[in-house]
Symmetry: C3
Subunit: 333 residues, 3 copies
């Protein structure tokens, strides 16, 4: 076979094109799988970068930091909120996205092909993979096979580390610091993945924790023991009213009806976890109400106009955190 390009003018003049230099930052080329990867120093680093992302978006909207980089956004279960956040993050950094966010269940990716094969296929096209998958441990499997960084966007009952990071970043942005705060977690603390991950991160700070849940949905024993072993001030209660006066942070999650075998039990307790304007009148002037969303009634709409309602600013912080993480693992921050 002859070498045909010899006689053709070449398409690219690489001397005139920018190289893809990377910055070594401890996260370059790494996977983001668990909150356990983040100590205080790394959190401070990511939060600093996320804050810069916020400034950039507010001032100019977008930049070219990730020009030349492609994100494969692979969602085995739909999550518009999370996938939109990652897509916007990549868009605002000048990168590109392969969106595989809807209907994966109908395509060959799902039909019989193993996760490792799908991952090894997508890494050929992309520089980083964001994975949402219903099975615990799937993000680790993907990371084991991928030659590019994998970011865990939720693996079933496992972890969803970018959610925990954006939660903690929101506390820092809203209240200026984390040490010394009183944080109250409200709702289904037994099954709430976001509560568990945020609690893990908060363990690195000097905070006191309050847990407000129905009796049957209390924080798992293993997590409670870890808190106690590490000398944290912890208290449990059945009613938000017990914690509202002193809380700096009210982290509210949904109590799902379906968790109660006896529906009358649900009706009995549900009011104790609802955040209302009346309840907010008892709260401090400087505090925040957060929620991972979507909410279904656990925070009244009338609370939305309260300046302490931080849940939509929390959503925006998710975009900034994901921008910081994408830039970091791609060696650009």
């Amino acid at each position: 076979m002859t070498k045909p390009t010899k006689t053709l003018p070449r398409l690219f003049d690489f001397d005139k094109m920018p190289r893809r230099a990377t910055i070594s930052n401890g996260l370059t080329g790494q996977d983001i799988l668990s909150v356990k990867q983040f100590d205080r120093e790394r959190l401070a680093y990511i939060f600093g970068r996320a804050h810069e992302m916020r400034e950039m978006v507010e001032r100019v909207g977008a930049c070219d930091l990730l020009y030349g980089h492609v994100l494969a956004c692979l969602f085995y279960e739909p999550s518009t909120r999370t996938s939109a956040s990652f897509i916007a993050a990549m868009d605002r950094l000048g990168g590109r996205v392969i969106p595989i966010t809807q209907g994966v269940q109908f395509s060959s990716v799902a039909k019989g092909e193993s996760l490792p094969d799908t991952i090894r296929t997508l890494e050929q096209y992309s520089d980083v993979i964001v994975l949402r998958h219903p099975d615990i441990g799937s993000a680790q499997v993907a990371a084991d096979y991928a030659g590019v960084p994998v970011i865990n966007a939720g693996d079933g009952s496992g972890e969803h580390p970018t959610q925990a990071l954006l939660d903690l970043f929101t506390i820092q942005q809203e209240l200026g610091q984390i040490d010394g705060l009183k944080v109250a977690m409200v709702g289904d603390l037994l099954n709430g993945r976001t509560v568990h991950s945020l609690t893990q991160l908060l363990l690195q700070y000097d905070v006191s924790l309050r847990f407000v849940s129905p009796e049957s949905l209390r924080l798992p024993m293993v997590l409670m023991n870890e808190l106690i072993d590490r000398g944290r001030k912890v208290r449990e209660t059945h009613d938000v009213a017990d914690v509202i006066e002193n809380a700096d942070v009210l982290y509210v999650t949904r109590v799902q009806k379906e968790r109660f075998s006896d529906l009358s039990k649900y009706e009995e307790v549900k009011d104790a976890f609802e955040i209302t304007p009346e309840l907010m009148r008892q709260a401090k002037a400087k505090m925040v109400v957060m929620h991972p969303l979507p909410r279904v009634g656990e925070i009244h709409y009338a609370v939305d106009s309260d300046p302490r309602a931080a849940y939509f600013r929390q959503v925006k912080n998710g975009m900034y955190i994901r921008m910081a993480l994408l830039a970091a693992v791609l060696g650009k921050a």
Copy 2:
């Protein structure tokens, strides 16, 4: 908490990055919900900008006018034609798109979350939201909650203003003017949202209108009365043949079989609304046939090669109109 970024080199040098200046144009920051927002002056302005968009696309394909801007394209019901048009519009203006155009029904966005909450989530990621929703009034609800402009891409039996604008723009582009024209609307005039909206816009011009429909699908009385009250020349008929000779514009819509309780009635009348090459022989040399598409038989394929068949150029005009609107509400036109 220490301020970690102090010691890190900063990522962005804002002095070297372009600011997002906006032009005040009367539409900057506004929602596009209804054709009622458009008087002749504003129509002339948008049509002028759309014409510039056409020139730009034909000469260079794309530009960077909307660099740094992100569009959230939220379709609660699929409409490939409309969503593709908005996506292409944003692409050709250098903006980015979060496409939530398929499968919304499966995701958390639809599962229980209220439209206001979904909108307030997406506005965190984006600079403008395009919404398609099956419920009348939903675009107004979205606009009430969104801090960014909302463009109504169809709210059930409500409005679909960008369609009406592209229809009118097509008449202007094809025939050079609107005043003085004879416009015939054909098909299901009772339920045809596009007919109603275009008629509303045409009320601002000196046109005479002909309405061709089966007896059971005549123009709604309220709209007919408005036309008469405003002194418009109006005539109704049951057969396209009655209007074909004098029409400058033949705006054809679908007559759905399902609208007839008695199918034999449908079979009886349907031929009276079909546009055929034979029929076109009776039409003027300078006139246009339009259709909002998709068509299902009401215009014969043999008519497609007739230079007066404008329906695919009409599709392209949709992209130009949407480019003009996006640039306008984002303060860039």
Copy 3:
């Protein structure tokens, strides 16, 4: 109607914007429908360009060669692998994509609208259309109606030319040449579209071919006769073990259980088509194992770490080939 733009400052200064010049390359403006369009000279040209694309991606990740161009990616049946490959190709060339890759079946595009109408709609928004459709001949229909180039991404039991091109490109990249090679095709050779297309392309080279299949899934007679008529060395067998020692290329495809009316027949023969590490020990040191993917057991996972396992590199070559084709039909390569 007054000409409103007269008094407005114009949005664009075309003298300062790059024109869309095109290079005439024999493929500019052409459709890519069939491998029959590719003689050795054209293959050498595309492979040369694909190799340049590879260099570019490895060195800088992306470029602006297709800035200003929009690809409509229209998939009537989901194929994540192929659509992701085209999207990544366009992304890395600086073009934009309208992704209509999921859920087409629910939208107006599928609901009753004819393929020609959908194509004539999408060509208004885009500069090139990639079509995947379940019906044989549909790509040709689309090309007949489209004013922009159409690339066939699989039309049912018809062709999937970009797959065949990437297969051949992989052989050339892996082994440095094509002439003189011994190529063994393995699996369902009766129904395997990729086998038929690659065989067609290989007919242009001086190769010898081995076909390994169950008796009921042998290569179709018409293709076999063509090979013989054109003087190719051809041999058929029922067991990979018969060809493994001499093969330079082992092109493996899936044998679907569903093809056997008698399942015990399937169980009897399936081992003869499995590629295992034991089998690989008999193969030459310099050879490649290829597979169009997805695989379902026909190549053991333990083979993946063998440097001769080329199937994931083959995936990446697909992106390079599609980049070369997109640039070529758009007159940029």
